[in-house]
């Protein structure tokens, strides 16, 4: 499977009469996007606001972040199975991405898991979306709408708007075109016979409401582990339906821009042979954990992998899946490196993980989510601060009268994301 990804660099975002890209500026027609989202009767109102790097803006409670993309050539559409009814296989042909732009869904909380993005100030350095040009979709649900329906409505609004904004890149000449190419298994193995065969075990969050992820529209709770071409993910084969603890949330943006896949491709054919992605889930029942991790081990053996990287989403319960996958992949003959984040308590003194295995002797840390930070007040809030003290990472007294916040790093979207996207890490003092 071969995908050309055309990167259109976005350096500003503005409202305009039509949604288009001109000289690196993304213009969006506000009313058009609002009308599109309001076709969903579950939503009472929708507002569109813009947030640029350096502005004194706080966005919260953030549900998802999506990079606008459009399928230019090849089968399928973006986010197959999620919007509309088209579920053709994606991952080949050509796709254009508005790099540097995002669509962010926010509004009244569904659970407690939604987070914060600061566009400037001392917290900005922890969040990748403090550096992007953001089109914020603020949704208000109909009175009395159930949480499951509200989550679905907010998720679909984000995907629809991101798709519409992505269309603006269809006929724009990209600043850069990157080609990603993975061959059918036997060919791929034979292409670089001298290099170690590397796979990626991608654990999808699937613990329940606000903890779901979708693969071609299928709730990841209901999948058994499967194997995929890495490029499929770049066309939206995986979308986030979850608001797991904000700091280690894998947003839809992060699925599209999965850093493990990106960096393995960079070294593909140089010092490793990137074979593909084993997709698995993080269900809460022990039987599911056993079945899924057994199948992961079976894939590792069947594919003859020399090494695997494993990433997880969330913490606590999924640490068990992480350790089971680590053990079974090791038993299947692969060398394993884990990528995860840490929750050792506010004093940093407790165990960082909820489970451990001796096989987990190689781990990359994406930082400690429990440290306490001070978020200064911002001139403008997109969304609302009403829920800060009950959002994950907040506590009694977190929100100060001047709008500043004292809270754990956990509050910040994707700040300790456990897939290696960021540079934040932790060491022992």
């Amino acid at each position: 499977m071969r995908l050309e990804l055309g990167k259109i660099k976005i350096t500003d975002v503005q409202f305009g009469e039509s949604t288009k890209v001109e000289n690196g500026t993304l213009f969006v027609n506000k009313q058009e996007l609002i009308d599109m989202a309001l076709q969903d009767e579950r939503l009472k109102s929708v507002a569109i606001e813009l947030a640029r790097p350096g502005e004194s803006i706080r966005i919260t409670p953030v549900k998802d972040v999506i990079e606008p993309r459009v399928k230019v050539e090849g089968s399928g559409v973006m986010f197959p199975g999620m919007i509309g009814n088209k579920v053709k296989t994606v991952g080949s042909g050509r796709t254009h991405a508005l790099v540097g732009a995002t669509v962010i869904t926010c509004g009244k909380i569904v659970g407690f898991q939604e987070g914060v993005i600061d566009m400037s100030g001392p917290i900005a350095k922890y969040c990748p979306f403090s550096e992007t040009y953001n089109v914020c979709v603020v949704v208000t649900p109909q009175e009395g709408l159930g949480t499951h329906a509200y989550e679905a409505a907010a998720r679909e609004a984000g995907l629809k708007i991101a798709t519409a904004v992505g269309e603006a890149g269809r006929n724009v000449e990209p600043d850069e075109v990157v080609v990603y190419d993975t061959k059918p298994l036997l060919e791929q193995v034979n292409e670089y016979p001298g290099l170690p065969k590397i796979g990626y075990i991608h654990m999808l969050q699937s613990q329940g409401l606000l903890h779901d992820t979708y693969y071609y529209g299928v709730d990841a709770k209901q999948i058994v582990p499967t194997f995929m071409y890495p490029t499929e993910i770049m066309d939206g084969a995986i979308t986030s339906g979850n608001c797991v603890a904000p700091c280690d949330k894998v947003t839809t943006f992060h699925h599209l821009n999965n850093p493990v896949i990106e960096d393995l491709y960079k070294r593909h054919g140089k010092d490793l042979n990137f074979i593909g992605v084993i997709l698995t889930n993080e269900n809460v029942f022990l039987a599911d954990k056993e079945r899924s991790s057994d199948m992961v081990g079976k894939f590792v053996e069947y594919l003859g992998l020399d090494g695997v990287l494993i990433t997880e989403e969330g913490y606590g319960n999924p640490d068990t899946d992480l350790m089971m996958n680590c053990k079974k992949a090791t038993d299947a003959g692969a060398n394993v490196v884990l990528i995860t984040d840490e929750f050792p308590g506010r004093d940093g003194k407790s165990q960082s993980l909820a489970d451990a295995k001796t096989e987990a002797d190689a781990l990359v840390s994406c930082g400690n989510g429990n440290i306490i930070l001070n978020f200064p007040p911002m001139d403008k809030v997109i969304g609302m601060l009403d829920y800060i003290e009950s959002q994950i990472g907040g506590y009694e007294g977190s929100l100060k009268p001047d709008g500043s916040i004292e809270g754990e790093l956990q509050l910040v979207i994707a700040s300790t994301i456990a897939n290696g996207y960021n540079k934040l890490t932790a060491r022992t003092y």
């Binding site: 994950i392 290696g420 890490t425």
Partner: protein, 349 residues
Amino acid sequence: MSKLKVVHYINNFFAGIGGEEKADIVPEIREGVVGPGMALNKALGDEAEVVATAICGDSYFGENLEEAQATLIEMIKQYEPDLFVAGPAFNAGRYGVACGIIAKAVEAELNIPVITGMYIENPGADMFKKDLHIIATNNSAADMRNAIPKVAKLGLKLAKGEEVGPPEEEGYHVRGIRVNYFHERRGTERAIDMLLKKINGEEFVTEYPMPVFDRVEPQPAIKDMSKVKVAIVTSGGIVPQGNPDRIESSSATKYGIYDISGMDSLTSDKFMTIHGGYDRAFVTENPNLVVPLDVMREMEKEGVIGELCNYFVTTTGTGTAVGNAKAFGEAFSKKLVADGVEAVILTST
């Protein structure tokens, strides 16, 4: 700017008041420096000075823990210090433990930074390295000239509220505290390097060695439940509506104890869950799914259990540090035992 004030703690031996035979001397405090305080004062330079030296015999300290601490803290307090230095104790075991105890007490009572120094095999080092900055010294007082400048340098940083560097830079014993920093390369690049090294049999360093957990041996089974008082304890975040004690939805720092006397089940108008780690929708409608009061009441009526405790204990399990969870358990278990509870049903989510 006036100099920062430092109070120094040493034992009778370093104060020049005899050896083992004088280890029972009671606490005293003298103005200015005594013994190794002279070198400390010099190393502190222009920014700080040792205003007083507290002295106590190690035997007296060890045999009169409460009294020695209380007396010493009163003495130290008078000098309004900005920093407290204990030792260094090198490999002197009782002295090391005394330095650890008094330093920890001063930090807690007077709310000022504290520092000490010890050899790695000093039992005090293991006991207090998580709580304190303990400069790593050699095993004898001959190392004083190396140890004192490190104590002074880090002590000054602490007193001035400056950022403390990693143990290998500052010279203190690794405390086991996980601290964030920004690496020059992102996680995936480091992970791929680590993986290739592992495959090639080259040396690599994990960024987080696997933690060790306490394992609790289960109690023997209770043969006859019909005489036993049972309590429900949950990490599922069930609280009265409005969450009166403001228990966090994740990484809890507190637990709650709530009355259920006279109730046959938990009703959704009175109880809710604030847990941030699972789908709350069903439990919001029926809190008995996590605190099974309805079933327990039936069992109580049928005589399956002797009695149900008239309260339940609750916190949020998700993201809650083991250290906090352990402290909660130690605290509420005492109450449960005092209230005659002999069995607990733990529910998680």
